[in-house]
Symmetry: C2
Subunit: 340 residues, 2 copies
DNA sequence: CTGTTAGCGCGTTCAA
DNA sequence: TTGAACGCGCTAACAG
């Protein structure tokens, strides 16, 4: 049996309550007994029982996070950052992955509620979904605050912190235009998903501002947002035409697929075609030519998301429930002057 | 306030105990009342309070896992597999990352114990460490079973399930030898760490069995086991000599670094030099030439580790506390006949 | 400053 | 088949 408050109270001949206060460094109890208590605790190898504490205080000291799939580098980055920040704030993190499966999501929410999670962070899937309502409803009924990371919902009362991918893509395309590029292909996912549509907006604005017309055939829509789909898209593109001088991929993994496919076709990067990615993940580094990318400041994003969540947990209403984090460009070798 | 057993008991005019039994589908309570209880529970949106339950049963229904860093693809793979398996077994998973920092590890263990985790899985760091004792001691004192994943300790009473990397490397080098290779370079990490030393053993055995002498200069030791270190090692290698026909890297990320560096130096893969990796992670796929690798059967490994842990939790002693999981080769384009 | 008491929500006796 | 009573380990309110 583990040693309890009672054990150490008995040993010292004082009451449980005093021991409890002493261990929590409450100023009500005098220094000498505090010291005795701490020593006894160490001696008896006392470990507070958080579940008992949780029952008594009705607080779990835990926050939950839902990510679609931890095997995706970008989500792993988020999880890592959140874990660190949450721990530093004295909370535990309960992580769960949904695999983009609504059934799993529901199960996760049930578990979260049963564990009396104090707040949840959610990184929504990359598919056009309606799960929004299911999350919201169950959590709201139980008064559990929710903050989205890296997504955008304009629905009322939804709090989020996201990287400003529209602005980031704008900056990236701007960078290309300034290098002399006019024929820039954008490779992304389903156009109805915010993560793609926002990037398209940024892409469009950069071109328009420079008086470059937007050509529909430069906007490629893939079935997914991973390496294989980018390879496929690039192969198809190369069969049709070679008149573009740059490719803007929606993330680094896809950019890597683009670079490899181009090089396989003896097209030099960046001499013949420039390529840019997004997120500054490991994929932008493990390429034969380093890939110019955007650092989304994941850490900053997560920090602000956790801060916002903590505010809501404390009962304060955050003054600004929608935060956009400005990214920064990371130049590598894959982007250079336009040919000719 | 969340609805409790009491609420639904009151509503139905029966006792809390009956409700509790009914919700747990205990056969003592008759079907009709069971049904009424379940309906009332749904109606009142009852969610069992796991912390109260935990206190009453003295069980947290949670197991903990420690990984060095979730940003490393291989560990993320493990975490994902374990999460799924543990959930299916009706447990929750509490994940923590140590960053290879003993202080953090200690903190994690404290939290685990305080949360009355029922068992822990640990994926040890890749450095020669002594943390073993600290883990062991604290957990043993609290009677919390521990199973290691993907590591090897020959110390008594330590349970583990690991991929048989010695055998896997043997198979891989064998594969190369059968393709006619004799001058095979091995690129790994610190030789005193089991994950490297075991691979070296497999490498050595494959050569010896074919009567090929082991050349010390073919055994390269890096400061780390990531992309950059592999690039560096390959660059240095190429400055010295070109007499090798194959490179066996200790993991896919390093293999990718090798392939890229070779190609940058206009050395063709596999025509001039064959390359193999290990773990069959995404890195073996996002290369210009797909990298031949070893599938460690992470899922199988994790399943067995969880099974073993569950056995110990139930109080049974696993008949075989040391399990080696046999890997399978995955051939891709990076390995071919030796030149000349 | 310290002790007493009463729950927190649930499972588990033991009676009825 | 059900109900009453108790305890898990801790905190909180109040009393001394």
């Amino acid at each position: 049996m583990a040693t309890t408050l009672k054990d150490i109270a008995k040993k010292l001949g004082i009451s449980e309550a005093t021991v409890s206060l002493a261990l929590n460094n409450n100023s009500l109890v005098n220094e000498k007994t505090k010291k005795r208590v701490h020593e006894a605790a160490k001696e008896l190898k006392y470990f507070p029982n958080m579940i008992a504490k949780g029952l008594a205080t009705n607080k779990s000291n835990t926050i939950g996070i839902i990510v679609p799939d931890i095997n995706i580098v970008f989500y792993a980055n988020i999880l890592r950052a959140v874990d660190e920040i949450v721990n530093r704030a004295g909370y535990s993190l309960l992580a769960a992955m949904s695999n983009d499966d609504p059934k799993v999501e529901e199960e996760i929410i049930r578990t979260f509620i049963s564990k009396r999670i104090e707040g949840v962070l959610a990184v929504p899937t990359n598919q056009p979904t309606k799960f929004l309502t299911s999350y919201q409803k169950a959590l709201k009924e139980h008064n559990i605050p929710l903050v989205y990371i890296t997504s955008l919902y304009t629905i009322d009362g939804i709090r989020y912190v996201m990287g400003d991918i529209r602005e980031g893509t704008y900056m990236l395309v701007n960078h290309l235009v300034e290098l002399g590029h006019k024929d820039i292909v954008f490779i992304g996912g389903n156009r109805t998903v915010p993560t793609t549509s926002l990037r398209r907006e940024g892409y469009g604005r950069a071109l328009t501002e420079h008086g470059i017309p937007i050509d529909e055939k430069n906007l490629i829509e893939c079935d997914g947002i991973h390496y294989d789909q980018a390879v496929l898209a690039t192969e198809e593109l190369l069969q049709e035409r070679h008149d573009f001088t740059a490719i803007c991929a929606m993330n680094d993994e896809m950019a890597l697929g683009v670079v490899n496919t181009l090089q396989k076709a003896k097209i030099r990067v960046p001499e013949d075609v420039s390529v840019v990615g997004y997120d500054n993940t490991i994929f932008s580094k493990v390429s034969m030519v380093g890939i110019t990318s955007m650092d989304s400041d994941i850490e900053g994003t997560c920090r602000q998301a956790v801060d916002m969540l903590m505010q809501v947990i404390r009962g304060e209403e955050p003054e600004e429930p929608h935060i956009m984090v400005r990214p920064a460009i990371v130049q590598r070798q894959s982007s250079g002057k336009a040919r000719r």
